[in-house]
Symmetry: D2
Subunit: 339 residues, 4 copies
């Protein structure tokens, strides 16, 4: 039994991590912590009553080190980088759900997250945990940087096309829509029920902090620099992301060849489901699962590809993928706890 810690239980990702890990046959959750919240987990989250007696403590390095083999950090960005390095130094594996180890250039990190990076030493060691793409590196990771929710949906949707036909692509525009839990448990007027329900809007138009993460890994897949247009929107649902991705080609492609490309690329993957031409992903088929559903369409003139990609932002876009990464890192069955 691997001993697992969760730091950040009071947030949505922490809660979903615990929900998954309590049913995982190869691990035991031995340590639960948060920055300010303390007390019985089933008081913090009443849905866990009769499921666990765990008590949330204020995080300390000593407790975490003594009680865990691997620690999930479900913390706001800028907090993980204060903790991860010390856990690594103590010989622990770390799976970080924040943005702190995703961007390879600290100048880019500073521009988008408005903070200096505090763990430059470990940054190069961090492995980006987009499971289906970087599995072999993940197997050996000590510091796993779990992808952002929007980037997960975007990169899985674009990986086959960009990595194999990158040179045929003129431009990429991502119109993304996310449920409210993507914002975390922020108590702000903008996320109050009467301001979200029966509403819909774009936000951070062309200026969302997930944009450089998407560009960086598209480049890593294709060896080409990308300048994607990214516009997120807030959906009146709890969870789920659907991205509609417009890829302008400079060479024609048929829907059959496109579909074949994707089916082959993800042939052995359990969690990426390529739908038939004419079918479209919907949130309800992926919410509360670790699946990413991908739909494909192509314009009459064969030069505009529309890829639609759906995930649960808290599962495949956060805690589910984090557990999938742990499964890979430990050689467990990759789907354990997730299907």
């Amino acid at each position: 039994m691997v001993r697992v810690g969760i730091v950040g239980i009071s947030g949505f990702s922490g809660k979903v991590l615990l929900d998954i890990l309590l049913n995982h046959k190869d691990v035991r959750v031995t340590y639960v912590a948060a920055h300010s919240t303390t007390g019985r987990v089933d008081v913090i989250w009443p849905e866990f009553k009769n499921r666990t007696d765990l008590v949330c403590e204020k995080y300390t390095l000593d407790a975490a080190t003594a009680q865990c083999d691997v620690v999930f950090l479900a913390l706001p960005h800028t907090e993980s980088m204060n903790i991860a390095g010390k856990l690594l130094a103590a010989g622990k594996k770390v799976i970080d759900l924040s943005a702190d180890y995703r961007l390879k250039k600290i100048s880019v990190y500073k521009k988008w997250y408005h903070a200096d990076h505090k763990d430059v030493k470990n940054l190069p060691k961090a492995v980006y945990g987009l499971c289906e793409i970087y599995r072999s590196k993940i197997k050996k990771a000590k510091l796993l940087s779990n992808p952002g929710c929007y980037p997960t949906a975007a990169l899985l949707a674009l990986a086959p096309l960009v990595s194999i036909h990158g040179e045929k692509i003129a431009s990429i525009t991502i119109d993304a829509k996310s449920g409210v839990s993507g914002a975390g448990k922020k108590v702000a007027e903008a996320f109050m029920f009467p301001f979200v329900n029966e509403n819909f809007k774009a936000y951070r138009v062309l200026s969302h902090q997930h944009t450089p993460e998407i560009s960086q890994y598209l480049s890593s897949m294709s060896g080409k620099t990308w300048d994607v247009n990214f516009v997120p929107h807030l959906l009146p649902v709890d969870s789920g992301i659907l991205e509609t991705i417009y890829v302008q080609l400079n060479a024609k492609m048929t829907d059959a060849s496109l579909h074949l490309l994707y089916k082959k690329f993800y042939k052995t993957e359990t969690f990426v489901r390529v739908l038939d031409i004419g079918q479209q992903p919907e949130l309800r088929n992926v919410v509360r699962t670790n699946f990413c559903d991908i739909g494909l369409a192509i314009s009459e003139n064969r030069k505009m590809v529309v890829i639609t990609s759906a995930i649960d932002n808290l599962v495949k876009g956060a805690s589910g993928q984090a557990v999938q990464n742990m499964n890979i890192m430990y050689g467990f069955n990759e789907t354990e706890g997730l299907v």
Copy 2:
């Protein structure tokens, strides 16, 4: 008092028309009909109890002609074109909310609506009722073709840019999201609560029937042929459309000049509200109103413009705009009944 008839009261647009017209000081609703539904309107729509004693009849030309000066046709496409011509011949004004008189080429109509056009004679006489753009023609219209919901949001959003800087535009991609009432009162599994609630999906990707309507009127505004990419999605809300429109430029533009262009273009318009740079429209500010809110953003490289446009699909996108058209046709105060 102008005598008004509504044909198609059992649908959502018919209901909203009645709601607006009952509070309109210059008209009296004298005739209400439908294809199959009959009986007291406040039984068909219980919200009208104590507001009206109107009784819905099966539509007949004689009754409509005897009791109305102007008739709103809130009917499914292919039905209006059987009725409109006869009402015109009887000297009545007709405001048609269906798609039957929007497309100028009958071959295009047939391709997208899968039906032969049955009133080719009156088609050229129909005036497209996009109020803010075609007001002078609307004043003289006898047969008013009320715009589709998606085209209203798209055309108002694009009119300033396309009509003044059409030559600078490389491509237009419209990512549209609509509430469920846009589908009408269709009783189908896809529109059942458990299949819409907490869900979101794209549909008719690059193949929605409003695409040629958008292209046609963009051409009419700019003298240039357009091949827009249009992808609609279904939002889990009752009403409201938000469109995120990506305009790729082949020349640079600044956000200040873009904003100025829009402010000037709509300076005297009550119902089009151009938001400041940095602000974004949201459904809740336009739902149940006749307003169209427009937001503007531009990319760092100044070559991608993102226009966001929000309306209520049943008001500005259907019945509200239809009443605004009636107000123009009769010289009433243009906002009567609508603000």
Copy 3:
């Protein structure tokens, strides 16, 4: 033109008041204020853009007195009682939407609102504005105490039975369900979207502060003391209250006689709609209207009456009824601005 002021524009009731009053033909809104918020009303509430240029000021007695004939107080309880007396003394009419003048005994006020009453002098002068029941007193009111949302639905539902057959009633139990706007614009975790959406719960079970208001006015209608059981619940909708009221009789009654009683009682009322036996009110027929819909059912043994009552908590349960009260106080058409 009567000059109207609204104090408390930043709350939901204040917003709905403005929305109604901007379309009211007999008044002009000349003054808008709040406790802390200031600035253009269409910045506070963007839906008012192009509808008003009003600017919200910090409330002062001098400004209110100079600019208004009547002032609506849409303030939290305990704040109105600091303001109302001075406005009255300055010869202004006051319509108070808070709870401050509803309870006749200051000990009861203190018990339920945890505050000493600060305007004991004016308390006896306040007229309870349940329009359909107290219309003749309202006509002469200077200080109008607008009913609470839950009490409005309860008292209109019970008035006929309690006032005419009070002695036949053994007990009254009210199971009430309200949309989120009933809680005001409180920014708290409990009202965040992910904690309301797809959720439902009871709160303040048998201990809600509207309980004594309901009991007091039931007594005033019947000359009998009542000890009602009242349990409110939070619905995942923006607006609307539905109450299911269980009246245990100690004498049998038939559904026909019950229905007749209600039809007669509300025969001349526009805003109370008694449904036929077998029909049930639903929120969607009353939301955004000033109507109260009432359904009636009776058990097989004829001793349990179930009355269902639906209103919009912000309209008939707050701002709509407040305007109806103003219409009565000024002798305007009672439905002006409301249908």
Copy 4:
């Protein structure tokens, strides 16, 4: 491995059964059938893609008998009773989720379900599967009649009080609220998104078919006849039932003694969670789980008890409880597949 069949996969209960059973370590789903639907299960329900290759067949007795040890019937009432007897005769165990074997008197069945009972022979053998109450009988059951959703929430909430203090109870009134999935996958206007969303209403007031089921088992627990008042309502959520139950006592009780009674009664039960005085159950803590949460309150005069009870109508109120029953019948760990 026990071989399991599901008949009625196209309905919501069938879907949830499959979802649970695919993760159950002691059984294998070997047979899936429906009345009219056929084909791959992951086409009928796309969420199962990559989770199962099962194909839904038209139901035949031969196939079911050959391929299953136990068969779940997730069929509309009046259909199960045509099938269950033959499966029993073939030596199979049957778990019936319909109402067909719940009511012990065929006259009562006929009155409420408008059909003659067609399997009177097996009716007495059916064991009512309210797990926590009838566990010892369930262990030996061949024909298991799974409780209705509303009765499950009501009976678990009332069992301690009724079975131990039945003589102190003067009356029971149940105000029940259910999500839409309780109605099954019915395609009808009343369940269309625009008629449910932002809406709420009572239905079948004092005349719902679950009323006699509740009364019958209350009697079985207490040896006393009950005439409960039951009023269901439709909530704008997918899943979840919350019942607010008003128990009028004819003797006083304290909240401490009431709470103690419930804590003791359910002390060893995993799936019934008795909340502390002052806490209230909410749907979001039970939805998609097999838990039943119970809250308790008592009036100032100590004679009105208010019990609130929350379950997921499709899990503890249907498929989850059905699997729990199977676990009991086969001696599996009772929580297998469910926590």
